[in-house]
């Protein structure tokens, strides 16, 4: 084994050949081209050289195929196990090319057939060294990403143990690194901040923005700033300071902007209020104690979209609320791809137990993050109804009822045990009749008027409850009474009659502009 130092070198090459003349030819040729060479006359000595100098010193290996003891393929396999990035070139005798075809599958970058011209040798070596450099750069990047992703625990920071029992959340990052986060922070006596965020992109930059924002929020909240001050500040930061760092100076290039969708909820247990500032997160859902479902109304654009924006927040009392549900758009998108209501997906994500395989989360195209917070600490969490469908339909959408029905069916099948299939079409028919009634009568087929469909499910009580509200004035008679009096079921109010006959319980409130009906679900 020999090594020769040059004044400069383009790379360090290990040459292995038992033929002295071959070894000399390769050495001298490559040294003339300013490569640093280390030679060995067999595989065993080559391995020794690698161990002594360190495999990372070498940029390429040039080895003869046929040698006493281990051959070139054996050496190749050993090198691949030590450093998969290091390129190896196999040199074969004339006519041996077929024998070493396997070397290509084994991972050799190239092979040369003797006699090898100097030009061919130079080109092969240059290509091999380039290959080694690229592979090592990729591996270095991967290591960096893995190191950052190990810090992911900082992105799930629940630092208020006194309310931790009220919080359920589920996080499934789709990529090894990204910017989704959830923080729960105490901000004063009986006051807490919920911050759920989603940074655009799934790379080191997204993770950096995410960590920066969380650190900024935590620090400023501890110094008695309020979220209404912090959010616009970070918006300006993203828009003005960081956009100039993304190559925007080069007018020929379109810069890749970074944006942050964030929900900030400030809960004051003493005052009994919840203040929400939502910037780009899908509108959160709320379940009220009376079983009705609401959606938060105010929504601002994500941070980083507009230089200046008058961020609007929404506040409400919490004494009539049971749960607050917040999720990133990854949940919404996956629900859309499954053709189900997002609340059905949220229901399954919040449920205890394995879900990566059962919900096929590997098929979700984006990171998934969802949280549910209980507003009532005294509520029995095991005996509650959870929302599984909440939809609003315009009166003019009556022609799309089949499409709506397909979403209901898939959502119900997603949530309910398979035993419910026997009554599925009774449920769908009642739901269809209720919504059609609402769209045609209550909403008068108008684009400007909307009805809502809210479905809740209580696993403990084995009950599905449907509620359909429309903005109409209802009938000028008692609907329930009228239905009971009907002798000919094929006449008026046939749709509402179907609901009363097929469901296990129903009521028509507000003169029929609110229809509520239940179906019992057999337990598994």
């Amino acid at each position: 084994m020999d090594s020769v130092k040059n004044k400069s070198n383009l790379g360090e090459i290990l040459i292995v050949d038992d033929d002295p003349s071959g070894l000399k030819f390769f050495s001298l040729s490559l040294q003339k081209d300013d490569y640093k060479v280390v030679t060995a006359t067999n595989a065993s000595l080559a391995k020794q050289a690698v161990r002594q100098r360190g495999i990372e010193r070498f940029d390429c290996v040039l080895t003869d195929y046929r040698m006493p003891g281990e051959n070139g393929i054996d050496l190749l396999n050993w090198i691949k196990a030590e450093d998969p990035c290091l390129a190896t070139i196999i040199v074969t005798a004339e006519g041996e090319m077929n024998l070493v075809q396997d070397s290509m599958r084994g991972g050799a970058v190239d092979f040369l057939e003797k006699p090898v011209s100097r030009r061919t040798l130079e080109a092969a070596i240059a290509k091999a060294i380039e290959h080694t450099k690229k592979q090592r750069a990729l591996e270095s990047n991967d290591k960096g990403v893995r190191a950052v992703s190990r810090m992911n625990q900082i992105f799930e920071a629940v630092r208020a143990p006194e309310i931790e029992s009220r919080l359920v959340y589920f996080s499934n990052p789709h990529h090894e690194i990204g910017g989704d986060f959830i923080n729960v922070l105490p901000v004063g006596q009986q006051r807490y901040a919920f911050i759920l965020g989603d940074v655009s992109g799934h790379d080191v930059r997204a993770a950096f923005v995410s960590a920066y924002f969380q650190g900024m929020v935590r620090g400023l909240l501890e110094k008695n700033s309020c979220i209404e001050e912090i959010v616009p500040l970070f918006n300006v930061l993203l828009n003005q300071e960081w956009s100039s760092l993304t190559g925007a100076k080069d007018t020929a290039k379109v810069p890749i902007m970074t944006s942050l969708a964030v929900f900030a909820g400030m809960l004051d247990l003493e005052a009994g209020t919840l203040s929400m500032l939502n910037c780009g997160i899908p509108q959160p859902f709320m379940l009220k104690k009376d079983g009705s479902i609401l959606r938060a109304s105010e929504s601002n654009p994500p941070l980083g979209w507009f230089s200046y924006w008058n961020f609007a927040r929404e506040s409400r009392a919490v004494d009539d609320l049971l749960f607050l549900y917040v999720c990133t758009d990854g949940v919404q998108d996956y629900a859309d791809s499954l053709g189900i209501d997002p609340l059905s997906l949220i229901y399954k994500l919040i449920e205890p137990g394995e879900k990566e395989n059962s919900l096929k989360l590997a098929d979700a195209g984006d990171d998934i993050l969802v949280m549910r917070f209980s507003m009532d600490s005294d509520a029995d969490l095991n005996d509650l109804s959870e929302p599984i469908i909440y939809e609003q339909y315009a009166g003019a959408e009556v022609g799309s009822i089949d499409k709506f029905q397909n979403v209901w069916r898939r959502s119900l099948q997603f949530v309910l045990p398979p035993t419910f299939d026997e009554r599925m079409y009774d449920v769908l028919l009642c739901c269809r009749e209720g919504v059609l009634n609402a769209l045609t009568h209550g909403c008068e087929n108008s684009q400007e008027k909307h009805c809502t469909l809210a479905v809740t499910y209580s696993k403990e009580r084995a009950r599905l409850r449907f509620r359909i509200d429309d903005p109409g004035h209802g009938h000028n008679f008692d609907v329930q009474q009228r239905i009971e009096q009907i002798k000919d079921f094929r006449g008026e109010q046939l749709g509402l009659t179907i609901i009363s006959q097929l469901s296990d319980a129903c009521s028509f409130d507000n003169q029929g502009s609110t229809v509520v009906f239940d179906f019992n679900v057999a337990k598994n």
């Binding site: 009556v398 022609g399 009822i401 089949d402 026997e422 009554r423 599925m424 079409y425 009774d426 769908l428 028919l429 269809r432 009749e433 059609l436 000919d488 079921f489 094929r490 046939l494 749709g495 009659t497 179907i498 006959q501 097929l502």
Partner: protein, 111 residues
């Protein structure tokens, strides 16, 4: 989709309707059945095959009511063939069995 077959010997008109009968297709189905009645006016009995339907909503029921009425007004008989338990419940609830013969044979899934 609708297909029809007229058996001359028995003057039996078989109409096979594929899929559900709902508010979104009831009018089209009514037109199609009307065309079949016009094509084969000599029927004495109608077999309306709804075995592939899983749902019939209130508009669909009213459409079927119209079909039944048309057949009965012509002095003919009609039998409705269904295999959906849900449709069977709706037919019984709306007393369709008083207007027409209902032939219900529930489809069982193969194990």
């Amino acid at each position: 989709m609708i297909s029809s077959d007229f058996k001359q010997d028995d003057q039996l008109l078989v109409i096979k309707v594929k899929g559900d009968i709902l508010s979104t297709n009831a009018e089209e189905r009514a037109d199609q059945i009307g065309s079949i009645f016009a094509e084969f006016p000599d029927f004495k009995k109608v077999k309306l095959d709804l075995n592939t339907a899983k749902m019939v909503d209130s508009v669909g029921l009213n459409m079927l009511l119209g079909v039944i009425k048309t057949v009965v007004d012509r002095g003919a008989e009609i039998v409705l063939h269904i295999s959906s338990p849900s449709i069977h419940r709706v037919f019984l609830m709306s007393r369709f069995d008083k207007l027409a013969n209902i032939h219900f044979r529930e489809k069982r899934s193969r194990k």
